[in-house]
Amino acid sequence: MIRASVVPTVLILLAGCGGADKSLPPAGATKPASSAPAPQQAAAAKPAEAAKPVPYPKDQGTAVVAGKITFTGKGEPEWSQPIDMSTHQDCAKLHGDKKVNEERLVVGANGELANVLVFVSQGAERYTFQPAKEPVALNQTGCRYEPHVFGVMVDQPIKITNSDATVHSIHAWPKKNADFNFTQAKQGQVDEKSFDTAELPVPIRCDVHPWMQCYAAVFEHPWFAVTKADGSFEIGGLVPGPYTLTFWHEKLGQQTQTFEASAGQKAQLSIVFAGK
């Protein structure tokens, strides 16, 4: 719906109100544009609450935050045990004798925790950003989603591919965005979708293969990353200043950490998620 004209308004508003409302979820989420006053009024009505956001000054975005996330303890077995595909031979035959594990908790030999979504939850409201045009890829391969967790900007296209010689029915279950659900019956089929409102998490599932699930997180800003197999993450392009980072894991919950970004420097954080 009239996306193109609405987007810039939303961006400004978000940045204007996002920092002030502590009860908002941390995804940089916001009220729907329709229930919010026009941007000029918002700015005029509450000048004391938040400075007016300015367009992101790209040339000042020289600070970086990076780090490593580890997991100590144990998760539930079903978060990582082998998937029983025997009821779905279309998928089982893609793997032969090889077992494919659940990916709700993916931990390396030394506790490196993958698939943690890391994002700026405070600090981005000072700026307005252009939506990214380059699509984010979501692939269905071997009856798994790749990646298992991903961030995407508001209105950024998500390119969804079925690489399998079987049918998938991809179904997004957002709370704030419009949902989508469509069938990809042909190998190689590609479709594009997007979300127009910040939201975390948006579960995405395959209606046909019950173990297939992944999560999208939708942001107004580009400052997010997902930890790799070695538990590492890096977010660049930060303008110097104070920030809060949130670390979200689908099963282990979330935690936050504040830090100060300095020009041309890389801040290092190490975060531990404790299991049972």
Binding site: T87, H171, P201, V208, G253
Partner: protein, 382 residues
């Protein structure tokens, strides 16, 4: 006359069930939209138009619910459209109109004739019986939980209950009236005229449809043994039904289409039912919609036999066997949905799946839907 007796008998059953249900209704918390951090099921900041004392959504911790494939699980409160928020007055008015045969061309048929509370808000027939006993082309679906659909009718031709309600009143084969006649009738009945005017500013066909739709939005149930099981009551359903749930979601692949809290993806599929009826293609003119019909809810399915848009499946067992058979004879069904996937169940597995489907019958209803309305008299002739 027979119809009326049947209808009343049905109502009495309905009242009895309603009374039973009400005795524990107050203790049950309704699911609401509280977010759960991980793996949040579908919910939203639903603006539930508050309409009365019965349904007070309480704080519910959805994070404790079982997470099932296709997010099948408890329903959230119905959302009313912004231009027709539900109120007590509208419910009272809509209920009278729903049961009032004077809205039909011959004064014999009301909505309740084909969507009878005592017959699972349907009619127990393969195909409905309409104006002057003519057979209708399709089976009458239940009105229970119709409020949750994103589109109405087997072919989804109307988007809302408001638009839907106008259909049967003016369909020649159904109530066979006209917009003008309905407007004249409600204006001849002082109570309707007064209430419609007070609530909607006008007593006409449009406002009649709106009031009926408002009533239909409380013709829902949000609590079945299955829902209680999802919320954590392990004993709410039996062992066979638990195995059946697994078959439903995994081996039988039923959640490919019957997903979400209302067990419907709100989409259209050709699942190989029926012959002549071309289904949604008549609406969209798209080849992919040949013989495609909207996935119906499976809530209260035990109450609404026979099944499918043509009433061709008499029992749940037959329906299950339909799903086993059709993928094996794909070539006979052009445009069969790609989601009709092959599987074969043992006798025990079929029984288990049936047992599961039986746990979807809601047993908590808004007590206001079980009240037999007194229909208001027409104005005395001048």
């Amino acid at each position: 006359m027979k119809g009326v007796v049947l209808m009343l008998a049905g109502l009495l059953v309905g009242v009895a069930i309603g009374a039973l249900a009400f005795s524990f209704a107050s203790k049950k918390a309704l699911p609401d939209a509280s977010p759960s951090p991980a793996a949040a099921p579908m919910a939203s900041e639903q603006q539930v138009a508050k309409s009365g004392p019965a349904e007070k959504p309480a704080e519910v911790d959805e994070s404790k619910w079982k997470e099932l494939p296709g997010f099948i699980g408890p329903l959230r409160p119905v959302k009313a459209p912004a231009d027709n928020p539900t109120t007590d007055e509208k419910i009272e008015l809509g209920r009278m109109l729903y049961f009032d045969p004077r809205l039909s061309g011959n004064g014999a048929l009301s909505c309740a004739s084909c969507h009878n509370p005592g017959l699972g808000w349907s009619d127990g027939l393969a195909k409905g019986i309409g104006f002057q006993h003519g057979e209708l082309p399709r089976s009458s679906p239940t009105v229970l939980n119709a409020a949750y659909y994103k589109s109405q009718f087997w072919d989804g031709r109307e988007p809302t209950l408001e638009m839907q309600a106008k259909g049967p009143m003016t369909a020649a084969k159904e109530m066979n009236s006209t917009a003008e006649k309905v407007t004249a009738v409600v204006n001849s009945i002082p109570k309707y005229k007064e209430m419609l005017t007070k609530i909607y500013g006008e007593a006409n066909f449009e406002s009649v449809a709106k009031a009926i739709a408002a009533f239909e939005r409380i013709v829902v149930d949000q609590d079945s043994p299955f829902d209680r099981y999802v919320r954590g009551d392990e004993n709410a359903i039996g062992e066979s039904a638990k195995r059946g749930l697994d078959i439903f979601t995994v081996k039988g692949k039923c959640t490919s289409c019957h997903n979400g809290p209302n067990f419907s993806d709100d989409k259209f599929h050709n699942i190989g039912v029926g012959d002549a009826d071309r289904g949604r293609i008549e609406i969209t003119k798209k080849d992919e919609d040949l013989k495609a019909f909207r996935t119906p809810t499976l809530r209260n399915i035990a109450l609404t036999a026979p099944y499918m848009h043509d009433g061709s499946q008499k029992t749940l067992r037959e329906t299950i066997e339909h799903y086993e058979r059709i993928p094996k004879e794909k070539e006979k069904h052009p445009n069969l949905s790609a989601l009709m996937l092959d599987f074969t169940l043992t006798e025990q597995e079929k029984q288990d799946l049936e047992a599961f489907l039986h746990t979807l019958t809601g047993d908590k209803r808004d007590p206001r839907i079980n009240v037999i309305p007194d229909l208001p008299p027409v104005a005395p002739a001048k």
